[in-house]
């Protein structure tokens, strides 16, 4: 039993860190502006393609390219905010859901025109190390590490810098923030940018070990929903914890039943938590 449980759990946890980063972006945007970003998946996919292009065309090391991808994600997010979200930020939920969904359609459409829906692969490996019965792939470990670093930086940013505090203030009470002289639109745009940046980073990390298509973000977006609800809507650290929970579930469930039951359990759990504890298991808010 243990000879399968331990490696499965390790695999799941390592992935969980990356899931966490993806969910953190969704969670941040929700926490700051009460918007569920349905363009989250395609942005994850764009992150994957960003790494792919930087790696195959520019010949960059994927981890170096991640910085570029992050920056591009930030800019893209800010752009999306001003084009699609700013106008409906105070409208009913349906408006922002559909506005971000239309961005989803636009990105997928353009992405399909450029990359088609065929799979791509970043042919990159760092080798592996054997620890007892467990074989750790360095790309996975590096991704988990990167996730931890990104989370750390995000927290430093949110709690130690003026801009970060502005974001928290706007998230907490937008009217009051305006009265204090904080330009809330700009802060919201930046938060949206950071949210999409996190999604792009997550996508980039995933691209270093799994093949992907322009549609591949969808699965990670759905996972992000589950994680965000597990960790508490709007709670970025909760997202990381939620990611680890989901990762270990994905690791452990297959030990006991057919792997194809994993999504059934995930989504039943998801609906159940929304019904019973909509604020999430770990409480909410930035």
């Amino acid at each position: 039993m243990f000879d399968i449980l331990i490696p499965s759990l390790v695999d799941g946890l390592l992935l969980g860190f990356v899931y966490g980063i993806a969910a953190m972006g969704l969670s941040l945007i929700w926490g700051v502006m009460n918007v569920i970003n349905l363009a989250h998946g395609p942005i994850i996919a764009l992150g994957m393609f960003g790494i792919y292009l930087a790696f195959t065309i520019l010949g960059l090391n994927p981890y170096l390219a991640l910085v570029l991808v992050a920056f591009a994600g930030l800019v893209l997010g800010i752009l999306i905010y001003y084009v699609a979200v700013n106008r409906v930020i105070d409208a009913p939920h349906l408006s922002s859901l559909l506005a971000t969904f239309s961005v989803n359609m636009i990105i997928i459409g353009i992405g399909t025109a450029i990359f088609t829906v065929s799979p791509y692969n970043v042919d990159f490996t760092l080798g592996a190390v054997d620890i007892g019965p467990i074989r750790l792939l360095w790309t996975r470990v590096a991704a988990a590490l990167a996730a931890v670093i990104v989370t750390g930086l995000l927290y430093l940013f949110l709690f130690r810098t003026r801009t970060g505090k502005n974001i928290r203030a706007v998230a907490n009470n937008r009217t009051a923030a305006e009265l204090m002289g904080i330009p809330s639109s700009r802060v919201l745009a930046l938060s949206f940018g950071i949210g999409t940046m996190l999604a792009a980073i997550a996508g980039g990390l995933i691209a270093t070990f799994f093949p992907f298509t322009i549609l591949a973000g969808g699965g990670y977006e759905l996972r992000s929903f589950v994680i965000v609800v597990l960790g508490g809507l709007g709670n970025p650290l909760g997202a990381l914890v939620g990611g680890l929970i989901l990762g270990s579930l994905e690791g452990i469930i297959p030990v006991f039943m057919q792997t194809s039951w994993v999504p059934v359990i995930e989504f039943v759990l998801f609906v159940f938590i929304i019904l019973v504890r909509p604020s999430g298991l770990l409480g909410s808010r930035v």
Binding site: N166, E178, L179, M180
Partner: protein, 236 residues
């Protein structure tokens, strides 16, 4: 010298007009109060002056400069600050972070440390609780924090919306003491209050707003002694 000059201001929500041409002047260094019943348009006036509501007509001049159409977040930079009704704290942030957020404009940011010291002097309770999450403070402490946060913006004109709402009388008394002290330091203040008695007792000058218009104005003690005001607001 007029610090804030409001002329013929009109405003409202959607298609409903609330303000029908309000004139109001805040003289520098004076504590002015604005009283009126619920629905008279007091909060609408403050929102329009701050810029969270767009004025339909008329003008707002701050230290001689037309600021009628500036958005709210540009006002603190020019020295105009509002302490909103219901405190509107950043409840998930600490006391000190709230104060820090008050000092968002460039001017205030330079004086952050000095001002912090000053408000801690005014409200020693806040200093004791500087690292506490502001949402967990008591009602009185929260109101202190709201006032202190406003002061952190280093304002030349500060407006208080319903400062006394929901506070025990003794706390109200303390807060108004503080206002007197601030007046002594030369701050221009506008006090919007339902607690008319209290407001008039500390103010220099007063306006009475009813149905979106100024129905009465004058030195506070004169207004307080007007028959209509005594009947309507002071229950005399």
């Amino acid at each position: 010298m007029t610090a804030l000059e409001i002329k013929n201001l009109e405003s409202g929500y959607g298609e409903v007009q609330i303000l029908w041409g309000v004139d109001l002047n805040l003289e520098e260094g004076r504590l002015t109060s604005l009283v009126g019943t619920n629905g008279a348009g007091k909060t609408t006036l403050l929102r329009t002056v701050m810029g969270t509501l767009k004025p339909w007509g008329g003008s707002v001049r701050l230290n001689g400069k037309d600021v009628s159409n500036l958005p709210a977040h540009r006002k603190p930079d020019l020295g105009l600050v509002m302490v909103p009704e219901g405190r509107q704290l950043f409840t998930s942030m600490s006391v000190e972070e709230n104060l820090e957020m008050g000092a968002t404009n460039a001017r205030a940011r330079l004086k952050l440390d000095d001002n912090l010291e000053r408000v801690y002097e005014l409200f020693p309770r806040l200093k004791e609780r500087r690292d506490q999450q502001s949402g967990t403070l008591s009602g009185g402490e929260q109101q202190m924090l709201a006032v202190a946060r406003g002061l952190m913006a280093d304002p030349s004109v500060i407006m208080f919306d319903e400062l006394s709402l929901g506070l025990a009388p003794v706390l109200v008394l303390n807060l108004f003491q503080t206002l007197r002290q601030l007046k002594g330091e030369g701050l221009t203040m506008l006090l919007v209050e339902q607690n008319v008695h209290m407001a008039l007792s500390v103010s220099d000058y007063a306006y009475v707003l009813s149905e979106g218009r100024v129905s009465l104005e004058g030195p506070a003690h004169e207004v307080a002694s007007t028959e209509s005001v005594q009947k309507a607001y002071l229950g005399i």
